[in-house]
């Protein structure tokens, strides 16, 4: 459903370079302990926020507050669903669906691989190559936030034991509604996850300089 266009391929290649040159690895307090995959906590660093009001101009501060809650909720969801090595090894934690209303959670649990990467044994590391979040907040005439539609594009790539390379791409649209004081996923009009695991390409031979026939170098 979601193929890799030229830009996607370029991102994968760039990430591949990072992965195999050791760049982009974890650092600081979340650096891996020996023998376990590295933990790279994930959060959407920002979100584009668009506001729609049924009448009048809604408060920007209120919109920002809602957006922040939704951004945090989705950051936690993507961290657990894609980036957490514990999930790669043991599968999704049941707590991941706490970001959803009961009805939406029931539907999501029946098809978790449309929303998350799920269990990925052998995955050694994952580097995010794309994480875009756009939030549309709908306000009612009393200027109360009514609903949020969040559009997410997420892509990551990393090496799998045995020399393969995994790349994952997710495009989702989430409908958020306020349940009490919490903003929860009430629906997902679109959710797709595409995972590719292919053998990592070997380094490309560079033609030898003239005068040294037969010799090759690798970068």
């Amino acid at each position: 459903m979601w193929g890799l266009g030229g830009a996607g391929l370029a991102a994968v290649i760039a990430a591949l370079v990072l992965v195999f040159t050791g760049g982009g690895g974890p650092s600081g307090p979340h650096a891996p302990t020996q023998g376990s995959p590295p933990r790279t906590p994930f959060a959407f660093s920002s979100a584009k926020v668009r506001v729609t009001g049924l009448s009048g101009t809604p408060s920007a501060a209120l919109a920002a507050g809602v957006a922040e809650q939704v951004r945090n909720r989705l950051s936690g969801f993507y961290d657990a669903g894609f980036m957490d090595p514990t999930t790669w090894a043991k599968g999704l934690p049941p707590s991941i669906w706490q970001a959803f209303t009961a009805e939406a959670a029931q539907r999501a649990e029946s098809d978790p691989l449309s929303l998350t990467m799920g269990r990925r044994p052998g995955l050694q590391r994952l580097i995010v190559t794309e994480a875009d979040l756009t939030l549309n907040v709908l306000f009612d005439p009393k200027k109360h936030p009514q609903a949020v539609i969040a559009s997410v594009t997420f892509a990551a790539t990393g090496p799998v034991s045995g020399g393969s390379l995994l790349s994952v791409r997710n495009n989702s649209q989430f409908l958020f509604e306020a349940v009490g004081s919490r903003w929860l996923v009430a629906g997902f009009p679109e959710a797709s996850v595409k995972v590719d695991v292919v053998p990592a390409p070997s380094p490309t031979p560079v033609p030898a300089p003239s005068g040294s026939a037969g010799a090759t170098r690798t970068p």
Binding site: G3, N136, S164, Q173, L175, S192, K194, V198, P199, P201
Partner: protein, 312 residues
């Protein structure tokens, strides 16, 4: 969007080719067609292109059907929209459980009993008591309890249609009517707000006068639903555009939260599962007034619709 999807498909195809080529080149060497891959590659637990996709939209739920009365006022500029007659009267029944619906139109000249006002043309009910009296009139006539009402003016309809970028309608027959301004060839065509209003108002150049007009108003609603569903599939956030277009151009007793729920529900109802009917009747006169006498067979339509929101 089609182009975008086409681009994605091309992208996918390219990615598949690249991946397969990589797999063949790296794991097994470039094999020629018809030759088996080396055993090592064939046994390799390589997953290529696992794609999962799903969707879930929280539609309204319930054991009983939902009924909405959609009204169009014939108020001219400067007149109170809810204080004039309603020339467009449609009862929309929704089977929320099975995602089906029926749009039942009432000819504006239908000769009916109006609570507290004796017998009169049905469109007088709104002039006598606004949308609430029209609701009571239809409830008494059909035995169906109405949950919500919506009322649009001429300009409201024009703006609403324009706000969502127009609608594509399969016009059933040519129309050339100077009164309404309807000037259409038969077939699919894109209508702006003014053209949509002309289609909805034309009763002179139609096969069955006001019956056909009412049917064409239902057709317009179905065309709008088709567009909403298509746009929602392409980009769910378009739902907010539709909600705003409706909210700003109609009067209603719907709350914003219920409107959101209804809009989400509408996205889950295929247009093919929406029946567009007009109450059967015959034309006649009462005094000097031209009226429609609703047929006795309408009672079975009401009973059918009362049960689950739909006819048939």
């Amino acid at each position: 969007m089609n182009r975008a999807r086409g681009t994605r498909r091309i992208g996918t195809a390219v990615a598949v080719l690249v991946a397969v080529a990589l797999a063949a080149a790296v794991a097994g060497g470039m094999s020629t067609p018809g030759q088996p891959l080396p055993a090592q590659a064939a046994a390799s637990p390589i997953e290529i292109h696992a794609v999962h996709g799903s969707s879930f939209v929280p539609a309204l739920e319930g054991k009983r059907p939902l009924f909405i009365l959609a009204l169009g006022s014939d108020a001219r500029p400067g007149q109170p929209v809810a204080g004039e007659r309603s020339d467009s009267i449609h009862l929309i029944g929704i089977d929320v459980k099975d995602h089906r619906a029926t749009v039942l139109g009432f000819p504006r000249d239908s000769w009916v009993s109006i609570p507290g006002h004796g017998t009169s043309k049905i469109n007088d009910a709104m002039a006598f008591g606004g949308p609430p009296l029209m609701v009571r009139t239809i409830e008494d006539l059909t035995g169906i309890r109405i949950d919500f009402w919506l009322l649009a003016s001429f300009t409201g309809l024009i703006h609403m249609v324009d706000d969502v970028g127009g609608v594509t309608v399969n016009v059933p027959y040519p129309m050339h009517d100077v009164y309404s301004g309807a000037n259409f060839h038969a077939g699919r065509q894109h209508l702006n707000g003014g053209q949509a209003l002309a289609l909805a108002r034309n009763r002179h150049d139609t096969p069955r006068g006001d019956f056909s007009r009412s049917e064409n108003q239902g057709l317009l609603m179905k065309s709008a639903l088709t567009k909403l569903r298509r746009q929602f599939t392409d980009s769910p956030v378009v739902l907010f555009t539709w909600i705003v277009a409706l909210w700003r151009n109609v009067q209603t007793d719907l709350s914003p939260a219920t409107l959101l729920g209804l809009a989400l529900t509408a996205t889950q109802i295929p247009t093919s599962r929406v029946k567009n009917l007009v109450v059967p009747g015959t034309t006649g006169t009462v005094g000097t007034a031209s009226v429609v006498f609703i047929s006795g067979s309408a009672r079975s339509i009401y009973a059918d619709m009362r049960r689950d929101g739909v006819v048939g």
